[in-house]
Amino acid sequence: MSGYQNKIKEAANRLLTEGSVDMVIGFRKGTLPMMNEPCFIRRPEDVHQLVWDSNCGINLANYLTDRKEKIAIVAKGCDSRNIVTHIIENKIKREKLHIIGVPCQGMVDKRKIISLFGEEILDVTENGDDLKIKFRGCEKSLKKNDVLQENCATCIHRNPVLFDELVGELVTEQTGVDRYADVNRVEALSSQEKWQYFEDLLSPCVRCYACRNACPLCYCPTCFVDESRPQWVGKSQDPVDIRTFHFLRAYHCAGRCTDCGACERACPVGIKVRQFTSKLNKDSFEMFGWEAGMTLDQRPPLDTYKPNDPNDFIK
């Protein structure tokens, strides 16, 4: 990890010094344990701020939308796939980007640790797969793999798919993971149970839109929930309006979602927002053999037509 961090600093320093980019987008150390803050670095003398560890779960592609500068960006596997999607959707130009690829070994879910011990985390040290966590009056050791973000635990694209340089050797991709276990579980339920499942899932939602705003795909200048003429969705805490927001937002991500987990990570009330998008990812894969953001050469399935597109849903 510290190897990555040094390589990131080196790259940033080089790029800024030689003037080939205007800014580097990466992470700096946050004010809380297990929190890093996305930041931009414009001057070589600020490069020392850059960090890399298992708390860089935020998807940095979100910070690229419509930027005009020449940017170097630190990108793990999912970030790089969202960068690909951004390029395909004309939200950023490839030639404006220098991608510093980071082969990823998964990001830690801080909340898992908190709920495991029910205590406030005071400090964490990371050494390969070992985490030492300091609580008030005690210290615990954990294996990183046991507390990964759920999307990371089942990720099969940890290596960046598009990069200008890499900060380390490519990692071995995971095999034999069940990416759709959650989806399958819900699919086995009856309609009424499914309805109730999502009713419970969404009950804590406060409509802060952190899920939407953390998502690199949600860059619409005016989101459908914010339209007033016509007003597609009511503004109150009505459960039907809340559900409409969530499932329609998910639909807007169909065939585009890279399962980066930014939505779930951002949610202040711990809603498993990926329960919506995972289903669409599964369908994309099963119907179109598609995974978003893997290549610049192919349009996503929902904005192209092929004669062999599955159409048995049309009666």
Binding site: V183, S191, V240, R243, I314, K315
Partner: protein
């Protein structure tokens, strides 16, 4: 991409059909089948906004 059924809308409540303007008999058939299947399901009470509770 069947998120609608996945989140609990009963199968049959949402249907898609492709009908040319010349296919009047198909149109009639589809309307009949859709109404029949929706009637069989009964009213959709889930995905229906309730009046705002006052006081």
């Amino acid at each position: 991409m069947n998120l609608m059924e996945h989140m609990g809308i009963e199968p049959g409540r949402l249907q898609f059909s492709w009908i040319s303007s010349a296919e009047s008999t198909k149109f009639v058939d589809v309307v009949k089948t859709v109404t029949a299947s929706v009637k069989a399901l009964g009213p959709n009470t889930n995905y229906k906004k309730q009046a705002v509770k006052v006081a």
